[in-house]
């Protein structure tokens, strides 16, 4: 054997041992991966599977035939698409000025603005829908005020119709949409607008031709996020709509909870799944894949990964934006003598509309607080007298207390589980080259981008199979499926900004890998990890769909108790519970912001 051969062999062993080590380094990925495969991918297959069996258990397309042949379900599908579409459009348009103001940040009060958005974001969807019932109902805020002012003769019918559903939907989705757009706008270099103005662009042109096109990826992501969330919503249409506003998710709930028709619920779920996937496909084709991954990726790569259609649309888009810019500048010039030169483009309109939106976001929930002290047994405005009866009813009722404790327990355990599974996976995904990374990331993203109802129905099938429905474990696992992706994504985002050289420095200074992680990595990442935990906690605390399907009536949580009570009648205890939740959220958000701003 020659020397060269020997050397070559030595090289070979080195490569092999490196490979083994790299396999070991991928191990932390396995638990998260296996968990998602088992409790997300398999349930999804079950849903599709179950829909193609009839009641007797034999293979048939019976469910789909029923779906196709019943015009009611076509109506429901169209309704769903219609409401989701308009909710998304209105939310994005309404949220844009708010997001822009938040991103500009120079205006004082932008942290106040952030709090004003975080509080509704974290206040349960259900509580906010209840607040709208108070505002819009027959004896609600608007009707009472109008009647007492003599503007109405008889109470107007403001609830149980299409506008009410749309209004509550927009209200519900607005914070998320604003934050999605904000994350993109934050990354737009403020020097670009300044550059445009030194190049001779008045603020109208600078906005429409430079800022707006750059913020479009955020607008598209926000639209998509709202659209998909709206597709899977059942709370708002059931509480504030009439049967004519029935949406798919609502009829899935009905099929399972009232009719016990799993097969047909599966077919409906497939319809929802199909609709969602088609929307994604259309988006991917026209705007490129960056939209799917949300703000983080799209802002860095504005203009990259363009689909063919986008390339083709570009000149049209440019000239449309140029035209809009010209129109804006025309008005700007007209306003100049009135407002003074420097103020014309300075966004009085922007901050006015932004604060109007904040009022829209916060006020409905604020109305609930006085009602919770009202002596009236049902939601009504104005509040009558003063009593703490409803709070007493809440705090002394074993049903409500048990539901609350369950909620806290599930939220806590599932958040911890998500962290334990998610953080190691995020560390590996962010730092190592992982084989089949795209596929893994898709598995991680899917639970986020699909409506929760789909996951819930899927898990129901799986757990029904192993007889776990109605157990604590089923709910914790369900919540973990929803939270794990968020933990992974958040921690990955935090890690992206983490300078790996700090770790290297620590190693060279003699710290072991574990000690480095404990003493260097962890403290720096703490804020991000705490955020991920809080977010998981709140999401799981708010969840209704998982508990509704997997609790099987044997386990209750606060949202479920609120929901089932609300379906019977708008009892004033609901106002007391809402007030408690709202105050808890306010405290958490304000404290979190304080901690955040101190750093």
């Amino acid at each position: 054997m020659t020397a060269a051969d020997l050397q070559w062999q030595a090289g070979g062993t080195a490569v092999r041992s490196w490979r083994q080590r790299s396999f070991v380094s991928l191990l932390p990925l396995i638990p998260a991966w296996a968990f998602l495969l088992l409790f997300f991918a398999v349930p999804l297959l079950f849903v599709t599977g179950a829909s193609i069996f009839d009641e007797s258990g034999s293979l048939s397309l019976q469910n789909f035939i029923r779906l196709v042949e019943t015009p009611v379900y076509w109506r429901i599908l169209l309704n769903t698409l219609d409401i989701a579409f308009w909710s998304a459009c209105i939310t994005v348009v309404a949220g844009y000025p708010l997001a822009r103001m938040l991103a500009s940040g120079e205006r004082s009060g932008s942290s106040l603005l952030m709090i004003a958005i975080m509080i509704p974001l974290w206040t349960s969807f259900l509580v906010r829908a209840l607040a709208w019932m108070l505002v819009l109902s027959r004896y609600g805020v608007i009707n009472s005020t109008m009647l007492s002012m003599g503007l109405f003769d008889t109470p107007a019918r403001l609830v149980n119709n299409y506008p009410a559903v749309l209004l509550a939907m927009v209200h519900g989705m607005l914070p998320l949409a604003v934050l999605t757009m904000y994350s993109v706008m934050q990354n737009i270099d403020p020097a670009l607008t300044r550059a445009a103005s030194t190049l001779g662009a008045r603020s109208g042109h600078a906005f429409w031709r430079v800022y707006f096109p750059l913020s479009l990826p955020g607008v598209a992501s926000a639209w998509l996020v709202v659209f998909v969330s709206a597709l899977g919503t059942f709370i708002v249409p059931v509480l504030l709509g009439s049967p004519r506003e029935m949406m798919i998710a609502g009829s899935i709930v009905e099929q399972i909870n009232n009719n016990f028709n799993w097969g047909f619920a599966g077919a409906l779920t497939c319809m929802l799944l199909g609709a969602t996937l088609i929307v994604y496909l259309v988006f991917e084709r026209t705007l490129g894949s960056s939209v799917l991954s949300g703000g983080a990726a799209s802002s860095a790569s504005t203009g990259t990964g363009k689909g063919r259609v986008q390339q083709w649309m570009r000149p049209f888009g440019t000239s449309i934006l140029a035209a809009v810019g010209t129109v804006t500048v025309f008005f700007e010039k007209m306003l100049e003598p009135v407002l003074g030169r420097r103020r014309a483009g300075n966004g009085i309109l922007l901050s006015f509309s932004a604060w109007l939106l904040v009022a829209f976001l916060v006020l409905p929930v604020v109305f609930v607080i006085p009602v919770s002290f009202s002596e009236d047994r049902f939601f009504s405005w104005p509040p009558v007298g003063f009593t703490t009866e409803w709070f007493e009813a809440y705090f002394t009722s074993t049903v409500w207390m048990k539901a609350t404790l369950n909620s806290v327990l599930f939220a806590f355990v599932s958040a911890i589980t998500s962290m334990l599974l998610g953080i190691p996976a995020a560390l590996v995904l962010a730092r190592r080259s992982v084989p089949m990374r795209a596929l893994l990331m898709m598995l991680v993203l899917m639970p986020i981008v699909l409506p929760n109802v789909i996951v819930s129905v899927g898990l129901f099938y799986v757990f029904a199979y192993v007889n776990l429905v109605g157990s604590v474990w089923a709910i914790i696992i369900g919540h973990t499926v929803l939270n794990l992706p968020y933990v992974i994504i958040t921690v990955m985002a935090v890690l992206k900004n983490y300078d790996v050289r700090l770790d290297h420095a620590s190693w060279t200074l003699g710290a072991s890998k574990l000690r480095t992680f404990r003493l260097i990595t962890m403290p720096i990442l703490r804020a991000g990890i705490v955020a991920a935990f809080l977010f998981s906690f709140v999401r799981s605390f708010d969840d209704l769909s998982i508990v509704l399907f997997l609790g099987a009536g044997q386990l209750s949580t606060l949202p479920l108790q609120l929901w089932s009570t609300a379906l019977v009648g708008i009892d004033s205890t609901l106002a007391a519970v809402s007030t408690v939740i709202f105050c808890a959220v306010c405290v958490v958000v304000v404290v979190a912001t304080r901690i955040g701003s101190k750093k």
Partner: protein, 357 residues
């Protein structure tokens, strides 16, 4: 010469922080003026005030004789090259360059040849349809210059435009900017913290410190006759001696310094120095020379050599005088009489001493 830009008594505070003390500068047409200074010296604030991005608390700005203090940036007709270029990422190179022309309501038939011409000047005609992110740093820099120059603004402001480039590219771009300045014969206000860059490019340099103008003059003025110790130390290296006035003979003054007596020739006729008055004087390292056996100079001291640093064309000698004052000497490596070490005699002429405050 007609005045392009007049800055009078302009000042700016951010809360309690005084970013800019009242400053007045006149810039004649066609000049390349550099605002130089360490960070926090107010140079960027002044530039932003000129561009209209920041409104001054006080004072006025006249562009071409017209008051422009409160005009918004879009109506000042100035050009600005930003630190990180601020190229619009969603527009191609050609679209970026066409943008200011479109803003001036030019017809597309007029725009196209102008864009082509300026791309030729910056030597990037083949990259017209690329997006900014597809270009190298130097190319982006040139596009930023082209976008600014294409509408021939009477004044171009540049905010550390070469900061992000590496050394070689920076040297090359310096020459290109100077060339562009000549070709377009515009007025340029250039901000940098790099004194070599300022020396290489400017007609005049305005050296700033703590929101004040420290000295305004040609690069040669600032180097050869610095008015303060700060200026002397900012440009190149210098030997600074604290001394007291001993005697005056017309324009020549005899000073007393710890290193020994120093003769200065810097006094204007009629200017009086008071006996006992203290002052600092600066002697550039390259003005100090080694004295062979019989050679003499106006000022002579004996130094002990401590370190010799050969930097290529020149060699730096770090020495100490008998009273332990550090002395730096710079001479051409090829000059021949490099001392062997130990003690040696050095000297400089009385015209090489500059009095600073």
């Amino acid at each position: 010469m007609d005045l392009k830009l007049k800055i009078e008594g302009v000042s700016k505070s951010y809360g309690a922080v005084r970013a800019l003390n009242p400053i007045s500068v006149d810039v004649p047409a066609g000049e390349f003026l550099t605002l130089l200074g360490p960070s926090g010296s107010g140079k960027t604030t002044l530039l932003q005030i000129l561009s209209g991005l920041v409104v001054p608390d006080d004072g006025g700005i006249w562009i071409d004789g017209k008051l422009a203090t409160h005009l918004p940036p879009s109506q000042r007709d100035i050009g600005m090259v930003f630190q990180n270029y601020a190229l619009f990422p969603h527009m191609t190179v050609a679209e970026n360059i066409a943008f200011p022309l479109q803003m001036r309501r030019m017809k597309s038939a007029e725009i196209a040849p102008k864009v082509r011409r300026i791309l030729d000047i910056v030597q990037l005609p083949h990259l017209a349809d690329r997006f900014p992110r597809e270009l190298s740093g130097g190319q982006q820099q040139r596009v930023a210059l082209a976008r600014c120059a294409v509408y021939e603004p009477p004044i171009i402001l540049m905010d550390e435009p070469l900061g992000a480039l590496d050394k070689n590219l920076r040297d090359q771009m310096q020459l290109e900017i100077v060339h562009l300045h000549k070709t377009l014969s515009t007025t340029i206000l250039y901000v940098t913290h790099d004194q070599e860059e300022a020396m290489a490019m400017s007609d005049r340099i305005c050296l700033m410190k703590d929101g004040r103008i420290e000295q305004l003059g040609t690069p040669r003025d600032l180097y050869r006759s610095p008015r303060t110790e700060f200026v002397a130390n900012f440009f190149g290296r210098s030997n600074v001696f604290r001394c007291t006035v001993k005697e005056q003979f017309d324009q020549t003054v005899l000073l007393d310094a710890p290193v020994g007596p120093i003769i200065v020739n810097g006094y204007r006729p009629g200017q009086k120095a008071n006996r006992g008055q203290t002052m600092s004087v600066v002697v550039r390292p390259e003005d100090i020379r080694f004295l062979n056996g019989s050679e003499t100079a106006d000022n002579e001291i004996v130094v002990r050599l401590e370190q010799t640093v050969m930097t290529g064309a020149t060699t730096r000698y770090l020495a100490r005088s008998t009273d332990d004052t550090p002395i730096e000497i710079l001479s051409f490596s090829s000059s021949g009489h490099s001392p062997a070490g130990g003690e040696c005699r050095v000297g400089w002429g009385k015209e090489n001493v500059t009095i600073v405050c």
